[in-house]
């Protein structure tokens, strides 16, 4: 069974140090939500409050519209996973997964059946009898996932589950987690500070900074329409253009504008509204090149822009450092912010 979660005006203070400031969230049943934000912004704290491991100073938490603010963790029925795996090192993988079941007065063969099914699901049937120290990081994390799912939780909490793993394993586990989550239709909240992880996995992303929620929305919304400079900067790369330059180049009227490097067009021929610029730096990035250009306009100063040029185009155009080129900032891709 899947549940919806509601966090309403929650605040948490640690010895005068505010970790969460009046945070409200609504999470639908079966939704995969990512909490994304820089270190120390309060993501883990929010997760611990939802788990009931800490009590909020203010506000309430609802599971399926029932107020659970004062319910102990054991009665909230959730599964949890950590960056450190937290597998019990003296128990085998099998016993780790069965750990929560042993306590539930289940018959041994029922336990066995369920654990077997879980190992099948995480594709680790052969590793049951091994100790955690005999498993790789990725395998350990999969066992931790199976353990979290063993008690058939209503929702799943993941605190940076993939940060300790290397890039390859991380990507395959991303898929694994998403697949299992969709299969079980489990409401899931994952904390991460890796934007790629959030963009690829989440149904909805909640961007946090300095103990408040900055923006929430689908990955596309967050990427294409950031509501404030923080979100724009935190997710992906972006060029900020301040008010003076906006005016100078006739770009927009707002306090601050921004444009993503891959949205800028670079060419050797001058078009209407394109700006003359000089190439300062070319950085090879694999499937694209990041080119730094400097747009100059007399005395008022230069404007440095980052431009991402796809690999195909790099091949045909053969840009050189020092070369004069023309940049085009499509008006419809320009983001405007009311605050600086």
């Amino acid at each position: 069974m899947s549940v919806n979660l509601r966090i309403s005006n929650v605040s948490k203070v640690f010895e005068k140090n505010i970790a969460l400031n009046n945070v409200s969230l609504d999470i639908q049943a079966g939704e995969f939500v990512c909490l994304l934000g820089p270190s120390g912004c309060g993501k883990s704290t929010l997760l611990r409050l939802i788990a009931g491991l800490d009590k909020p100073n203010e506000g309430s938490i609802y599971i399926n519209d029932r107020n659970v603010t004062n319910l102990p963790p054991a009665r909230r029925n959730f599964g949890i996973m950590f960056q450190s795996y937290a597998l019990f090192p003296n128990l085998t993988a099998y016993e780790n997964v069965a750990y929560g079941l042993r306590n539930k007065k289940m018959r041994n063969q029922d336990i066995e059946a369920r654990v077997d099914r879980l190992f099948h699901m995480i594709k680790l049937d052969s590793a049951k009898k091994r100790l955690p120290s005999q498993l790789s990081g990725g395998e350990q994390q999969r066992v931790a996932l199976a353990r979290a799912l063993a008690t058939e939780p209503d929702f799943l909490l993941l605190d940076e589950p993939l940060s300790a793993l290397d890039a390859k394993v991380r990507i395959s586990l991303r898929k694994e987690i998403c697949r299992i989550q969709k299969e079980l239709g489990l409401t899931t909240i994952m904390v991460t500070h890796d934007q790629d992880e959030a963009l690829t996995m989440a149904d909805r992303i909640i961007v946090m900074n300095k103990s408040v929620v900055m923006q929430e929305g689908t990955p596309e919304e967050i990427y294409e329409h950031p509501e404030n400079p923080f979100v724009a900067d935190f997710i992906g790369s972006i060029n900020f253009i301040d008010k003076e330059k906006c005016k100078l180049y006739g770009l927009c009227e707002q306090e601050r504008a921004a444009i993503r490097p891959e949205k800028i067009e670079l060419s050797r021929t001058e078009k209407e509204a394109s700006l003359r610029a000089q190439i300062k730096e070319i950085e090879f990035r694999g499937f694209y090149d990041r080119i730094t250009v400097c747009v100059s306009h007399g005395v008022q100063g230069d404007m440095i822009l980052l431009v991402d040029v796809p690999f195909r185009m790099v091949k045909t155009m053969q840009f050189r450092i020092g070369e004069v080129v023309y940049v085009n900032l499509p008006r419809e891709e320009l983001l405007g912010f009311k605050t600086a």
């Binding site: 491991l53 102990p72 054991a74 949890i80 979290a148």
Partner: protein, 568 residues
Amino acid sequence: MEKLKQKIMRCTKEDIVRAIAIYAVVAFLLVFLVCPLCTLFVKAFQNKDGAFVGFAQFIKYFQSKSLIQSISHTFFVAIMSTIISVTLAFFFSYALSRKNVPCKGFFQYIGMIPIFAPTMLLGIALIYLFGNKGIFTALGLKVALYGKVGIIIAESIYCFPVATTILMVAFSAADNRLYEAADTMGTSTLRKMLTITIPNVKYGLISALFVAFTYSFTDFGAPSVVGGNYNVLATDVYKQVVGQQNFNMGAVVGIILLFPAVLSFVVDRITNQKQSAAINSKSVPYQIKPDKKSDALATAFCICITLVMVIFFAVALFASLIKLWPYNLTFTISNYDLTKIASGSGFTAFKNSILISLITAVLGTIVTFVGAYMIEKNQKFKTSRRIAYFLSITPLAIPGTVIGLSFIMFFNASQFNIPFMDGYALQNPFHGMYGTIWILILANMIHFYSVPFSTATTSLKRLDKEFETVSESLAVPFYRTLGKVTLPLCLPAICEMWVYFFVNSLVTVSAVVFLASPTAPIASVIIVSMEGAGQTAPAVAMCMLLLFINLFVRLVYEAIRGRSNKKK
């Protein structure tokens, strides 16, 4: 009121178990640590009849010439033995951790032996070596042993192992990258020593100095054997309390004994924090480079130290196995006949000692572990946990002599007068323990509480702190996780705690010398009285027995540890 009711309603069964455990530990420490100390403080400001006299006792004390003298004696002896033992320990641990010395384990173990024997043994061995009829005296080497010389030698050996242990830890925390950086800049060996090594072990060195000072400042065993007429504070207290039954003056001396110990405790706390902050996970362990000349020198030094230790204990062993030193050197084991020595109470004393050590080790390990667990792995009961932590590390600052004194005052009183309420008095529920082995067990548990507590805390800290979180999410009660995961993982630490309690309880004398009674005699105290009565050979035999038992326990522990390490 309504809130309180709600709070109680919300308590789960687990919360209740937790609450009982933590409050039990706090209550234990309050009753058997804080209350006796309070009694001691009160007594210091009273006269014999129990009337409040303010600082009169202190003034009387500082006017007495002989007592003032014993303060300066104690300082002199303590400073000298601190300098000697820490200097030797510094080079010893430097040689073992930074030089290519063969058989490091062997040297290290031999260096640790004094921990396993009562300090009286060191004194007695000294008498056999340098006393009036000693071996070296007979060879023409005359030393004025009785008095400061004897005490300083004995205390230096006594403090050597603990200083070595602290310094070994300090030396092990080196960052090889610093040395490599220095080497690339062509730094001389001396400069490396002065700019890298010494600053690196600075805090360990300070800590070793203070701990060694406290040990020798408060030791009772060695001065009671080789002190002669050279009076020091620890023996003073004994004379005041046991000899003259002057409890109030004893309390005054006890408080004076507390000062350096508390100071050393504070310094130790501060340096501990600094030391742990200095090392990080990125440090690279020190790589020992071969250097023939200095390696040979280091090995020679280690051999010298070991030789001294071996001579001490060999002489003691030899003396325990002959009829009458130095007149009749025929071999005998009659000194080990426990039924004959100390007018027949030898066997009871020996049995009591073992029993006390066993019970102390079991109960002490349980209490300290439960205490450490509740403090470390618990979110609730903030205030109680803070109090419990503070009380748990306090015994480190209380010399054994003071614990013994405060216990005798606390348990001896049949009732406590409540201040400002004349005519009312509280029956002392613990009076019945006086004269039984239980008072000795409690004294040992309190006396040696802090080190095992720290061992438990460290090993608990090393576990992933999310184990408890995961268990809670799986709705598994904490005591199940404690039993199935935490305890098995902490087993090595638990064994170590047990051994620490056992070894120390078996040989300690400073606290128990006040508490052992004819109805419950114990070995270490019998040794003191036999030695005082001139029965040196049986006394030394008894010392050797205790040493053997401790070494045996330690070896069994090492064997178990070695096996479990191999399994991993």
